[in-house]
Symmetry: C2
Subunit: 103 residues, 2 copies
DNA sequence: AGTGAATATACCTGTCAAGGCATATAACAA
DNA sequence: TTGTTATATGCCTTGACAGGTATATTCACT
């Protein structure tokens, strides 16, 4: 799994931005107003999100419309699937491990 | 979504530890050897993972067996589901947004 | 051309987190 | 007890990163 995606999402304000964009696309100042952030910080966060491939941009006049990109979420979903086995075999795994220790 | 989970996973070495624990539980020195990390750093990373609820510990003699915990992965899964709508309505959302801009 | 709005960037500063290393703690063994 | 193994913690240094503020850039409009 690409840790760049996760570190981009791990910052609280970026998380808020992503959850805002989940509903619909937004331009920069809309995000700044909605989330009570200053415009430069929003631009910087969007830059990080863009470099992580989490959003893409559509220029419209002086404005820039930011929108979520599906790919990283799908990749995260795939990665998470590899943990589904863990959810059932936890106790068995530990038992087996402890049993091996005794040998 | 809890950003603590994400920031714990966002650190590359912790990600490697988690992916190692996905297969089966491990004790500290096993992790250190497998991943070519020094023991103190492994302990520190495990501490972070533990505080984030991603792992739990089972003492066995002097050793401590670390194992993945299912809950945070399930929560991440739930959160990801809220983005499934995005994957289909991307183009429509943008069109609608641009249409509103013209008014 | 000149003005204003929307956005990006540069620079500074403070904070936090990761690695390295030494050392403390705890449990077992002889 | 003493030594040995497994693990945790403390301290230090360094690098990354987020916020604040000022400024640059880009486009539209008159």
């Amino acid at each position: 799994m690409d840790t760049m995606t996760l570190s981009a999402l791990a910052e609280p304000n970026r998380m808020r931005i992503v959850e805002l964009l989940r509903d619909r696309p937004h331009n920069v100042s809309e995000i700044a107003n909605q989330l009570w952030l200053r415009q430069p910080q929003v631009s910087k966060h969007l830059r990080v999100l863009h470099e992580a491939g989490l959003v893409d941009v559509h220029p419209a006049a002086q404005q820039r419309i930011y929108q979520l990109q599906a790919k990283p979420f799908e990749e995260l979903d795939c990665w998470l699937e590899t943990f589904k086995r863990v959810r059932e075999t936890r106790i068995d795994s530990l038992d087996n491990y402890l049993r091996e220790l005794k040998n």
